[in-house]
Symmetry: C2
């Protein structure tokens, strides 16, 4: 581009003037999974990208030390960019995170989740700014709504009643869920409060025969709700083969029974129902082998580690081309992530399954208006109104949650370590069963 053109245009186009990354910690219940149990505090990072005309774009990502380190290394390099320039964002984050020059291939064949996560964290904030500049909601900037609302599913967990160590706040009001009746009660409350039309059981915690009994109790209590189970790769191929006949007619899909793409390919050979994943196909570099093995029929997308919202749309595009269904994965998160998930979910034609969210398990918020900003109706959400993501920071809440980060003592999620407080001999090696 001739220099005079760039100069002429730059006068009136907003540029990134400042980028802030604030680590936060929020209360998290003692939810059980294959690795262990959630610690009392979930870590996240809040990203603010401020332009020289005073707009602020928001992002939310992981809060572990590796992510924070990458975001900190990259943030200064974004100053001066036009918030439309996501190619420069990718290049600069790539250079900051890898220390290598960017040569047009953001994600190496093996995938680099840390790099893609850093890119995605900033990209959401850049897109928030783009939509603010265009004066439209983010879903509109992303191509427009293909549905009125985005459906989410009830995300059930076996759980303890309270954390082992007193975290300095009262126990959650969900109580214990360690048997079938308690899981059914948890589901009843969640379906009643949120209207969810699909149910997912986080599994890999107990012997699979026990967990299938939980599913049967759920089927009895909710005869028409699609059911899913996610043992997070906790089973062997042989265990999965033994269990498979028992899922027939019971499950909508089977999520990550095993722990590697090769094993999923093995399971796919005998599976009688769709296999879903957020563990074995987690980067574009994994797609060719996934397709070659026909290993996966549903990919649970996640803009946090696929590289952002445009990357999520690209993944959905691959899904259309290769006949792979798309849904959405979740970690413990707050409203900026929920808004981003909902906006992009509005735009994906082949979002074929209700999305996961941990949101019902949280009690705190960082966005202005708090949790009231997100009103589930019939298990689904419409995106916040207004330009961009439609959410703003509650700075008082941000300050509180940052203080919790500073004082909570957790710097890297470690569910296994937390579990060893209950069971000192805990071993989270997979397959567990």
């Amino acid at each position: 581009m001739p220099n005079q053109t760039a100069a002429a245009l730059s006068v009136r186009r907003p540029r990134v003037a400042d980028v802030r990354v604030t680590p936060i910690a929020f209360r998290d219940p003692p939810l059980l999974n294959v690795v262990g149990v959630h610690e009392p505090w979930a870590l996240r990072s809040i990203i603010e990208v401020e332009t020289d005309d005073g707009r602020i774009g928001l992002g939310e990502s992981y809060g572990d030390l590796e992510t924070l380190g990458n975001l900190d290394k990259a943030k200064g390099r974004l100053v001066g960019l036009d918030p439309h320039d996501t190619n420069a964002l990718v290049a600069r984050v790539h250079e900051a995170v890898t220390g290598q020059p960017f040569i047009g291939q953001p994600f190496p064949a093996a995938g680099d989740k840390a790099l893609a996560s850093a890119i995605g964290a900033f990209e959401v904030a850049f897109l928030d700014l783009q939509a603010q500049i265009a004066g439209c909601p983010l879903y509109q900037l992303l191509g427009g709504a293909v549905r009125d609302r985005v459906a989410y599913s009830a995300y059930l967990f076996y759980k303890f009643a309270r954390h082992k160590d007193d975290p300095g706040y009262p126990p959650d009001d969900w109580g214990e869920a360690l048997d079938h009746a308690q899981i059914v009660d948890q589901t009843k409350r969640m379906v009643n409060d949120y209207g969810f039309g699909s149910i997912k059981l986080k599994a890999g915690v107990f012997d699979p025969d026990f967990e299938i009994e939980s599913l049967r109790a759920l089927r009895k209590a909710f005869p028409n709700h699609p059911l899913r189970i996610d043992p997070n790769g906790g089973w062997s191929v042989e265990t999965t083969r033994r269990l498979m006949p028992r899922f027939d007619g019971l499950l909508e899909y089977l999520e990550d029974p095993v722990n590697s793409l090769d094993e999923m390919g093995e399971v796919a050979k005998f599976s009688t129902l769709p296999l879903a994943t957020n563990m074995v196909t987690v980067a574009f570099g994994h797609v060719p082998k996934t397709v070659r093995l026909n290993a996966v029929q549903v990919i649970l997308s996640d803009h946090h580690y696929w590289g952002g919202l445009r990357a999520t749309q690209a993944l959905a595009h691959y899904g259309r081309t290769f006949g792979i269904g798309i849904s959405m994965h979740s970690n413990s998160h707050l409203g900026i992530s929920l808004a981003a998930m909902t906006h992009v979910g509005m735009t994906i034609p082949n979002l074929a399954y209700a999305c996961d969210t941990h949101y019902p398990w949280q009690v705190e918020e960082v966005v202005d208006g708090g949790r009231e900003m997100f009103r589930f109706e019939a298990g689904s959400l419409s995106p916040p109104s207004g330009p961009g993501l439609g959410v703003k920071l509650d700075r008082s809440a941000l300050s509180t949650l940052h203080h919790q980060y500073v004082t909570c003592g957790i710097r890297k999620r470690d569910d296994a370590k937390e579990m060893r407080k209950y069971r000192p001999d805990w071993n989270s090696a997979r397959p567990r069963f």
Copy 2:
């Protein structure tokens, strides 16, 4: 989205108020190819999408009756849309063109070039509007520049000196090119005038042994320019096998030697150089088989039939994931298409080869400022400056070119019919050799 939100936002967001499609015809030289020879008039359509605040987004596409019929069927359905809403654009064009309800899968597995072409024609105009609204050049809206300029290649044709019938305008000044010396002279002029650094010979016209002699003459005259040959599927697999050893060290890539994806897969088994295509992989529905056969190493993208500029970027994304290089295909076109090609080319990291363009073969223009708007330097172009595509219509030129369409008598490109004026026994069946 709650109704009050939509209402509140719609007040200040521009909507499509009118869509106009104007068929045009412009002078085209008697260029030879595997099917026959270019007729004296090339047909195109000029698309204008006007918003209720007076902005005009531009597109350019094919001008045959099928395309015009599809554009006419669809254009009224776009009125009222936010120009950001390309998902609604896809759905409405799909419904207009196919008569079937849109259910989230724009392109059936077999591909539907006519549908994707209609979508792409309007999508460029919508994106032009989006960038105008954002106040940035289109390449910036599309993610930002990854290069300063987009490289194009010299596109050589065997040609006659003049059309068989007098088209009512003087013959082009390129003269005849039916032997090696004339092809070299054509190349010298084109490289001298435009600075192209790569050379592509449109082939499939003469016996391949003759055409390879042309390549050898070019190699001698231009020892450092990468060379390509494109017989447009005019050869059999066996002919290609016989010729292959002679391309070693001579060609950058071999484009469409054969006429089907299966045959390309056969050729790929013995090919010693990258195979390129704009004929056998022309829709996302073709990608899975292309990948399975490893049939193609370079895809010549074309926003006109892949479904627009975002689709072109999606294709490039697939290219990164599957290790397929990306370049760009061209038909006879004017400046709106050239601007669109250049803008999207600025944004594609893995645009690994100089793009095709027929632009040097044209003498007319429909954009304000005429052909001076596009100044090739060292064979490459920077996009026009200003927001959006950066080009506006010259309404007087549009009127002239439309009048030419009305009077030229051509309604569907038919190079074979034109060739039969010279050779009544002409048979364009492939493979020819």
